[in-house]
Amino acid sequence: MAAYETIAFDAAKCTGCGDCMSACAQVKTGSFEHASSRIQILPSANDGFELALCRQCGDPGCVSVCPAAALEKDGTTGVVAWDGTKCVNCLLCTVGCTYAGIAFDARAGHVTKCDLCGGDPACVTACSEGALRHVRSARIYSHYGELEDLFVPGLSGCQGCNTELLIRHVLRAVGPETVVAAPPGCIPGMGTVGYNGKTGTKVPVFHPLLTNTASMLAGVRRTYKRKGRDVTALALAGDGGTADVGFQSLSGAAERGEEILYVCVDNEGYMNTGMQRSGCTPYGAWTSTTPVGERSHGKAQEAKNLPLLMMMHRCAYVATASTAFMEDLYEKLAAAIEAAKHGFAYLHIYSPCTSGWRFPSQANIEVARKAVETGFVALWEYTPASGLRFTRSVDDLRPVDEYLEAVGKYRHLDAAQVAHIQAHLKKDLGLLKELSARGAQADPRALAT
């Protein structure tokens, strides 16, 4: 089934200026009469604003109650379309809708509803407050949903884990001309390398040691290249296998510019073997080897900044990404696939762990989103030609407490530890900002002090 675009409303950002209604009325009727707008913003009792707008429902009530076959959901665009040549003005559609998404317009003399302006909604363009957003991620899902899923069904990840989503989509984008290396970690643990002599992927997959993922892939890529085949050498590795045990071979391959697409799925620890700390575990976090008790209060050291380390290798492409921002992730994936044809591409994807971080299994994407919105994690990309660039602004961040409170492994933190985290985040962000300001001119080594 296709996924569809939609208009999202953020009531907290709405100022009630009415520009969206003017724009809609203008585009649809030529007047600026708010009464003719298909989006209606209503002042609410508590100084906020409420919305009446067609949701382009998946199973639209207005269509079900239309006696004249004048309403229909378009299977391609998802728009619930109204056909004026069939409508009989019976108003039954207004009974079927509980959002006031279709209503009688006295001026027009018939019911009217939002049609997403054919894919470029005027109300969203007119909204200068960012309260209305045209959410297009559906395009991604529809596009990649059409491509073959190169993992077998029935991978056994923990409940709520985002890694299955992540690897299925990555492999769809990378395509079938691929050899996958999955070193020990959650990804093979959930069945990608297979059981009983059968693989969990529909492309060749192997299970290197933790130490030699990048060097083995370098050989695979070179061998195929010599044979004249353009095969993507793809690593799907955890942060332990990348930052700690596998770092020597990774660093070497990056420095040599091996043509590898290396995806690090960072869940901040050795999660499949009992939630031990890794070099990527942040300061203060509880793990089974950084317990919380009388003397120990979680991890005492800072996390390595692995993506920055990779940037300092001057890789062809380095980026950070999050499953809460899929459009961003897909753009980076496309760039990384391209870059891996001529150099080392490194993609660092933050992956909250439902089992090891102590939060409810349905909250994974929510936690990932909060990490980015509070600046705990920054989304950026780097190429040698243009330097580091933020792909999501870090100017208007939410307080980091919102993130720390959402994750159980930080529940024990005292005020001093939170202050420590805040101070370090500020410093890290400052460094990234400095790098982004200097663009390609930046010499990370000089700034890293």
Partner: protein, 416 residues
């Protein structure tokens, strides 16, 4: 003998909605949809517009052949259910076909109820429930100078408007003291009747026909008030009765309709009923009701379909609420809920000159009903406020002043 996991009888709103619900949960189970009508699925509600010519009879079908193909549904049009052997789970059709079913939905709707008027059988008259009826009436529209409509319900009023617009001298005879009884109170009804009067229609409320007789090319009617009315075109729209002739001997219990529980299950295992044919829970009263309106048929069809497919999301029918959206001479009358309710608190606003009317009935600060003429609100939201028994106490004055905006605001908050 044919076999089907799901046998759906009827091809209108209740059956089609049940079909959609079944397919949401069971993509493969065999479905056979059989209907008496020879035409592909259409809605009786669209028929007044077929009569007037606004709707093209070829373009009113609710689903195309491709839909049934895609949904893997075997469609049998022109096949009327004749009898049921519920013990053997076999349905027999008038064309001789037999179907062995696992689950059966009766969504056969209603047929015009012809009142026992002396001499009526000798007089040619029209009814309006099928596409055939509509095309016949449309053909007669051009030549009739004088027309009489019996019954001022939805069907009668829609048809009367068509007749007026076609230039016929039109009389509407209604037994109740007002038009559209059950949907509008006397005051609103009189505003609607006035609009008809202004366009030359005669509205005779509180009168019944005693007898009918042929007269020349047409007919003559004798009314209880003593008056005689003559005409060339007679439309009988005095109400409907459920289409349940096939029930005899089936064991399926029926009163004014087929009795169902809140999952639309009948008294017999593996048989469901929904829509105009069903008598189901009322939102307001203890006794079950037949609520012969389109949104009700859709809602019941959905509940039945989900239950038939054993969808874990299946839910109970929340109870029938009368709803009416009525468009007359370019104006709108809306009604949701009931106004005559014990302990109710009534707020009426009426601008007689402008023809605007609004009535809000609350009980314990919960919405019981809202009715208006040319004062728009969103019926879908109002129904939801009624069904959820939303406490309007905190916003009561705003709601009474500006029900449309207030209700939108409330609903937007409730959804969030």
């Amino acid at each position: 003998m044919l076999q089907a996991r799901y046998l759906l009888v009827g091809s209108s709103h209740a059956a089609l909605e049940a079909l959609a619900a079944i397919r949401m949960h069971d993509a493969e189970g065999s479905v056979l949809l059989a209907t008496r009508d020879a035409a592909p699925p259409y809605s009786p509600t669209v028929l007044p517009y077929v009569v007037s010519g606004k709707s093209d009879a070829e373009r009113v079908r609710l689903r195309g052949a491709r839909y049934f193909e895609e949904q893997k549904v075997a469609l049998r049009c022109g096949s009327a259910l004749a009898s049921l052997d519920t013990a053997a789970r076999v349905a027999r059709f008038a064309d001789g076909e037999q179907v062995e079913y696992e689950r059966l939905l009766l969504a056969t709707g209603a047929s015009p109820a012809i009142p026992p008027i002396a001499g009526l059988k000798q007089v040619p008259y029209h009814v309006l429930r099928t596409l055939e009826d509509a095309l016949r009436l449309r053909a007669a529209l051009g030549s009739a100078r004088k027309a009489v409509v019996l019954g001022a319900g939805l069907v009668g009023m829609h048809a009367a408007e068509n007749l007026v617009n076609a230039g016929a001298e039109t009389t509407v005879v209604e037994m109740q003291p007002q038009v559209l009884p059950g949907y509008f109170d006397a005051q609103a009804a009189s505003l609607i009747a006035q609009a008809f009067g202004q366009r030359g229609a005669r509205m005779l409320c509180g009168q019944a026909v005693i007898s009918a007789a042929p007269r020349g090319q047409g007919f003559a009617l004798k009314l209880t008030g003593g008056e005689r009315v003559e005409g060339e075109l007679l439309l009988v729209a005095t109400g409907v009765r459920p289409a349940i002739d096939y029930l005899a001997g089936s064991g399926v219990a029926a009163e004014r309709g087929i009795l169902v529980d809140r999952r639309m299950r009948t008294s017999v295992a593996n048989v469901w009923a929904a829509g105009d044919v069903a008598q189901a829970a009322s939102f307001y009263r203890d006794a079950p009701v037949v609520n012969g309106i389109l949104p009700n048929a859709v809602e019941q069809g959905r509940v039945a379909g989900m239950d038939m497919a054993a969808d874990p999301g299946a839910r109970d029918f929340r109870g029938a609420v009368p709803i009416n959206t009525y468009h007359f001479f370019g104006r709108q009358a809306l009604s949701v809920g009931v106004d005559a309710i014990e302990g109710g608190e009534t707020h009426v606003q009426c601008d007689e000159a402008a023809g605007r009317y609004r009535k809000i009935v609350l009980k314990d600060d919960r919405l019981s009903g809202i009715f208006s003429i040319d004062a728009p609100f969103d019926p879908g939201i109002m129904v939801e406020l009624v069904l959820r028994r939303v406490d309007l106490g905190p916003v009561k004055q705003a709601f009474l002043d500006e029900p449309r905006q207030s209700a939108r605001r409330l609903m937007s908050q409730l959804w969030r």
